[in-house]
Symmetry: C2
Subunit: 131 residues, 2 copies
């Protein structure tokens, strides 16, 4: 949209009450922003299929219980497929779906942006005064 906003825009910034968060977007955001969720998706979309244990170790600090809960939700939402090999011991692998591949596109974009912004912030922080 627009990059620059003038004082006029500020003055006009009144009655926006009618605009709400879109329904499908709202539900999606609610799921994606639960703790660890994006981290899990980020790992799976970059690494490809991962076993439960590997995921558990990669997502440092998460408990088994919560990882299970998150993966179940992601499975319901169609972001991962759960593949079980009933061996002994069992081997459960979580496989990214095409839907997750779609998400990977903009997760990479966000990753690039985060690098760019961090670089900007570091510059600003190490050079607080203009000489």
């Amino acid at each position: 949209m627009q990059l620059q906003f003038t004082a006029q825009h500020v003055a006009e910034a009144t009655d926006y009450e009618e605009i709400k968060v879109g329904c499908s977007m709202g539900g999606l955001l609610e799921v994606l922003t639960r703790p660890w969720t994006l981290h899990i998706l980020w790992l799976l979309s970059r690494n490809g299929p991962m076993r439960f244990g590997a995921l558990r170790r990669a997502v440092e600090g998460i408990s088994a219980r919560l990882l299970t809960v998150r993966l179940r939700t992601l499975e319901e939402r169609g972001f991962v497929e759960r593949s079980v090999r009933p061996t002994n011991p069992p081997e459960v692998t979580y496989i990214p779906t095409p839907r997750l591949a779609d998400m990977n596109l903009f997760m990479e974009q966000l990753h690039k942006l985060s690098d760019k912004w961090q670089a900007e912030d570091v510059l600003k922080h190490t050079k607080p005064h203009v000489s």
Copy 2:
């Protein structure tokens, strides 16, 4: 890894433990996935500048306290600019920055995806059996 930002008195009530991801992405995700944050950004990036009250009404269910906390963080991270007109009553407007405009790009993508996925899910639900 993470920039130190201090808004002690305000932030201490919402002091999340840092999620370790090992790159700039981690700190960003940690901020963005706090409750309401993406909703706020989504609204601002679509609507342009909004006043505090309008934002409060648009982000249905959020309390004034938490909205303030979130906006402070977003200001520190450079996603919004806070503009105060010391009239009586005061008029405070939150203005999207170029950085938020960058984010808008992939938020729109995510929005499109969310619509697409919802449509898919509805189809799958109304047509459980393939004829």
